[in-house]
């Protein structure tokens, strides 16, 4: 059967001499795998449409298993992501999250819109770290692992100042802080942002200015939480760490 979908290329894998397997997040059918025959060859019409982060209309034939790409029309190529190494790295992390946290057929139109908005925001010079944290939170919510941030995860108290416990899954009040030795002290600004991340629509994200100390706390919290509950060794995040270790002029 022939399917026409709006999709974003999350990842490509070389297959055989000149073929590629695409992982697409589609608006209509969730995550799908599609074989693009001859996509690696110079004269292939699929060359550009099969590059990661490309948004487009993809037509594929599928009976069972992997579909076969029949035609592809680029809607937005995200050239800006390909031409900047750090933007490319952040976009890769966002795409990797969508690829590895979703099974085939999983995903929704809302998630597709958020992914498209996240890629556009990173390309448009919005704070990539903040965009990534919002998308992390969206993925956690979708997977059913969203942290509890409105009250103490242990006793339900709403009296702060709160700390963040990745292991226990949310904020801890001062009386319960002893329950997690690895609890991260959470300044008021960082807590407000974490709460904001759970509900914000990336399409409406404007220019953001977040202090570097607050960003450091947010990164520590989100990283600990993702590691504790998702437990995937993120390749793109490892790459970002390497780039931070060896900054370029």
């Amino acid at each position: 059967m022939l399917y026409t979908v709006q999709g974003i290329v999350l990842r490509t894998t070389d297959y055989g001499e000149g073929n590629k397997i695409l992982r697409l997040l589609t608006r209509e059918a969730g995550k799908v795998g599609v074989m693009a025959r001859g996509a690696k060859k110079v004269k292939s019409r699929f060359g550009a449409a099969t590059q990661p982060f490309t948004c487009g209309e993809y037509v594929y034939f599928k009976s069972s298993g992997l579909g076969t790409l029949s035609s592809a029309e680029i809607t937005y190529a995200h050239n800006g992501l390909h031409e900047d190494l750090m933007k490319s790295a952040y976009a890769s992390y966002v795409a990797e999250m969508a690829d590895r946290m979703l099974e085939d057929g999983e995903g929704s139109a809302a998630l597709y819109d958020q992914l498209a908005a996240a890629l556009a925001a990173i390309e448009d010079d919005k704070d990539a770290q903040i965009v990534v944290h919002i998308f992390e939170m969206q993925m956690l919510k979708m997977a059913g692992y969203a942290p509890i941030l409105e009250e103490c995860v242990s006793c339900g108290s709403r009296t702060g100042p709160f700390a963040f416990s990745a292991q226990l899954g949310g904020t801890l009040c001062p009386l319960c802080l002893h329950k997690d030795a690895q609890g991260i002290a959470l300044p008021e600004g960082a807590l407000k942002l974490l709460r904001l991340f759970t509900g914000v629509d990336i399409r409406r994200l404007g220019a953001t200015t977040v202090k570097s100390e607050t960003k450091a706390v947010l990164k520590q919290c989100m990283r600990a939480y993702m590691d504790a509950h998702i437990g995937i060794a993120w390749k793109a995040r490892h790459f970002l760490d390497q780039m931070e270790k060896y900054p370029l002029s």
């Binding site: 550009a48 590059q51 190529a77 050239n79 390909h82 031409e83």
Partner: protein, 198 residues
């Protein structure tokens, strides 16, 4: 297994090759059985030699049986230009043009944020050593025109800024013999950006 042990082992060995399934591996194994003994020995020696007799060139990191490799030993080449390619196969493709007369550097991979492959995992330190030692004036970045290739080219161009070199990137655009009508928007945009005056 229904086959005698040596045949089973050969089928198993062939099926480890890319694109070879058990049926094809069986067919190849029985073909080997029918070959002359000398041809089989040559075949086996070729397999062993490719593993034991090849190593990386100490200058350009290409795979070679002699060190430095034949290209790096060629004094008639232009010492002021280095062309950076991803794989040994890319070097062969460039050599087929017979247009490039400089030297090469083979990275054996590309920076890939998607795969988590960073600058540490490809042969960049060797390139930097060459740039500081040799009288190089131009660095041509001939990595693939995809996300990984672009990332590598961007990284290298920023990394070698301090050397005061001319850094160039191979052009992107339409393939010779291709039809403009069937070209995609991205390729056409790149072709327009890289247009030249006649």
């Amino acid at each position: 297994m229904f086959y005698p042990e040596p045949i089973s082992r050969l089928i198993d060995a062939f099926s480890r090759l890319p694109g070879v399934g058990p049926k094809t591996a069986g067919r190849l194994a029985f073909h080997v059985l029918r070959m002359k003994e000398d041809d089989v020995l040559d075949f086996a020696k070729a397999l062993v030699n490719v593993k034991r007799g090849l190593h990386y060139c100490s200058v350009c990191c290409n795979i070679t049986d002699i060190d430095p490799c034949r290209i790096c030993q060629d004094k008639s080449r232009d010492r002021s230009v280095i062309c950076v390619v991803q794989e040994p196969k890319d070097l062969v493709a460039m050599e087929r043009t017979k247009e490039f007369q400089g030297y090469y550097h083979v990275l054996h991979g590309a920076i890939s944020p998607m795969e988590g492959i960073g600058p540490d995992q490809i042969h960049i330190p060797e390139l930097l050593k060459r740039l500081s030692d040799e009288s190089v004036q131009e660095l041509i970045l001939a990595t693939n025109p995809n996300v990984e290739g672009e990332a590598t080219a961007m990284y290298l161009s920023r990394l070698v800024k301090g050397f005061g070199l001319k850094v160039t990137r191979i052009a992107h655009g339409l393939p010779v013999g291709g039809d403009l009508e069937y070209a995609d928007e991205v390729t056409l945009t790149k072709a327009l950006e890289g247009r030249r005056e006649l």
